[in-house]
């Protein structure tokens, strides 16, 4: 039988050991599905969202309270975005902990890291599009970090936020970045990333000679597993959207009033915590960039994992990378918890 469209996107067979849930955690596939959900719900929101400082928050309220199934659409978009960040982190950890970044996969690892950064920026720009009283402080803080960069800071600030007071002029910039500027790169990098997974030989596994089992599964079986994941993830998303509505605050006022609980969105709380300790350029820009650089350099400067270890959980030959990534992860987690408890 000739393969159908979705089957055709998959290799005819893949190694059974690496196709297990316990190996992939379903993270990469979930990320693709969540991106599709985000594109669809985001497009629906665009029919009603008005990217104008006076009307943006009101149009969000219109979606949340008056458009039929608008609240559900918005909540799905919100929860898909939050889950996408979570599965992106899980995917990154899985790739590092199974030594799937090495050798010919080095470049695709960088593409994935680029996607991760884009997803964070999309989450932040999307959060700002609410344009309500809660987003002004994070917007000012975030864009001021750009200004703190020597030489090019002012230019970056103008590019990102339109150049005026952030809470007045940044909306159209953030809207365009969110809808187009960042999304187009997510599509390009995302397609490239998926293509490179196929081109690099599918899910990372040891060379055939070193494999413990020669068992393989068909693409039809792989497709079934993906369908199962999509069904379960859809149910989870729908229940989250039904029970936990996306946050909403009163519309931003002009001049903006900043609430007592000025707080960054959850994925930037760790940066907020560091900013309390001193220089915004060092703590808010250099350290996050340095962490990103460390992650990017893992396949290039750390010892190459042994061939037989590729695609195995926590191999000894990839220890250095595992420890560094774990430390970064725990550090960010600790800083996040510190912010939550100190407020």
């Amino acid at each position: 039988m000739r393969p159908g469209f979705f089957e055709h996107l998959h290799p005819p067979t893949i190694a059974a050991a690496q196709a297990r849930w316990s190996h992939t955690l379903g993270a990469g596939g979930s990320a693709i599905f969540l991106m599709l959900v985000l594109a669809l719900t985001g497009m629906l929101e665009m029919f009603y969202y008005v990217p104008n400082p006076e009307q943006a928050a009101l149009s969000v309220q219109r979606i949340a309270y008056h458009v039929p199934f608008g609240a559900l659409t918005r909540n799905l978009h919100y929860w898909a975005a939050q889950l996408l960040l979570v599965v992106a982190v899980v995917h990154l950890l899985r790739v590092v902990f199974t030594a799937a970044y090495s050798g010919k996969r080095r470049f695709n690892y960088l593409l994935g890291l680029g996607l991760f950064v884009l997803v964070i920026l999309l989450d932040f720009t999307g959060y700002i599009l609410r344009w309500d009283a809660d987003v002004c402080w994070p917007l000012v803080t975030g864009t001021n970090l750009l200004k703190a960069i020597p030489w090019i800071g002012d230019s970056l600030y103008r590019i990102a936020g339109g150049g005026g007071e952030a809470c007045s002029t940044a909306l159209v910039r953030f809207y365009t970045w969110h809808i187009f500027g960042l999304s187009i790169f997510v599509i390009i990098l995302g397609v490239w990333h998926a293509f490179r997974v196929r081109r690099d030989g599918g899910i990372a596994a040891p060379p055939p000679a070193l494999r413990e089992s020669k068992k393989r599964i068909s693409r039809r079986e792989l497709l079934r597993r993906e369908a199962l994941a999509v069904l379960m993830l859809s149910a989870l998303l729908i229940l989250l959207a039904a029970f936990l509505p996306a946050p909403l605050a009163p519309a931003m006022t002009d001049p903006p009033t900043i609430g007592e609980e000025a707080r960054a969105p959850w994925f930037f709380l760790w940066v907020q915590q560091m900013l309390r300790w001193g220089d915004p350029f060092i703590l808010g820009v250099l350290i996050p960039l340095a962490l990103l650089a460390v992650l990017a350099l893992i396949p290039y400067v750390f010892p190459k994992p042994a061939d037989g270890d590729i695609g195995r959980w926590l191999p000894r030959s990839g220890r250095a990378a595992q420890v560094v990534v774990t430390l970064i992860f725990l550090g960010v987690l600790t800083l996040t918890l510190l912010t939550l408890t100190s407020a």
Partner: protein, 402 residues
Amino acid sequence: MRIALTLAAGLLLLSLAFTWWQQLPRGEPVELTPTLRGQPEYCLTCHGDVPQISAAHALATFGCVSCHGGERLALDADVAHSSMRGGANPSDLALVEDSCGGGDCHSGSEADDRHHIQRVLTSVQSTYAGAIASMRYSFGAQPDLEARYGIAAVSDEETSTGIHSLAAFEPWNESHPLVQEFGENCLTCHLNATPREGEAFARSTGCASCHLTGEHTFSTAIPYAQCNACHNRGNYDLRTMTFVERGDEAVKRVDDYYQPIAQFTRCEYTLDCIDCHTRAEVMGDGDLHADKQSIQYIQCKTCHGTLTELPHTRTLTDPDDLAFKLAFLNPVVELQLGDTILVTGSDEPLWNTRVLPDGTYEMTGKASKQVFAFRPVMGTACEQKPDEQQSQYCHECHAVER
């Protein structure tokens, strides 16, 4: 795998069905687009039972949000109420400019008689300037009775009283403990103060303190009981500077009526306060005044004249006469061009009075709508003197004792 797929598909269908049911609209939201701003609001979805606040603030014109603030599109109580101005009292003087102000509303020009907010902010009801000066003078904190402080800082560039500004009274900077006590205990019931804790006092500042005569009713027909809410609530014990709530429950009007003294004439307890006391006296005239005496000017002779002079009158010939506007806002009398009414010494219309063809007068109670007949003292056996016009002199003959 087939079973797992079927189960997962079932789970998804179930959650879809549940969410579909959960998202079905519960009742139609009630939309109102007030003509003043032309922006739809949905407050009436939950608050449809709140009565229109006054005919002058018609719901169809003003809606809710122009005065109360809030998120006009939100259907979730927390979000909808999150940006409300002043909770129960948007007219609190700290917020009044946003809630009630604007050139077309209550902070317009004096020429248009739309400077209500400026008048209230400078009135002694807001500043309490006289009492503060008197208290500080009594305890040696200032050498004279000159008004230097108000409850909040306030200035008046076009003053005609010589007082250009008052600084904010800061009791914690005072050295005498009783002046500090006074600051802490006695400044809560003036219009520009922070009200006392509790639901009962939530609307006791700003415009609402006088004009909110019902749960959600704004009126210029203010009964004496409204004034009593502050002016007959109890008294201050001057030895301890603490407030002693009134304990008795008055049965007769004569017992209930606010009087700083125990003797009064009949008009002093049968009329409502606003039947005699004018808008300028009560709400201020736009200038800063040193104390109550310098703004309160209505005397017995204002309505009754003296033995040699009749009270001032005005025959209404101008359709734009202020009397018509005031009578329109509280239509207890049908004023017509050609009517002759009494006016005060500074020409404020006593628009609820009328000079009758036989030379006697009648007054219609602004709140009670009761009609009172009265006459000038000229030509009667009254022994009053033009320079003895305070009520104590009338009490010598006309007093009722409490």
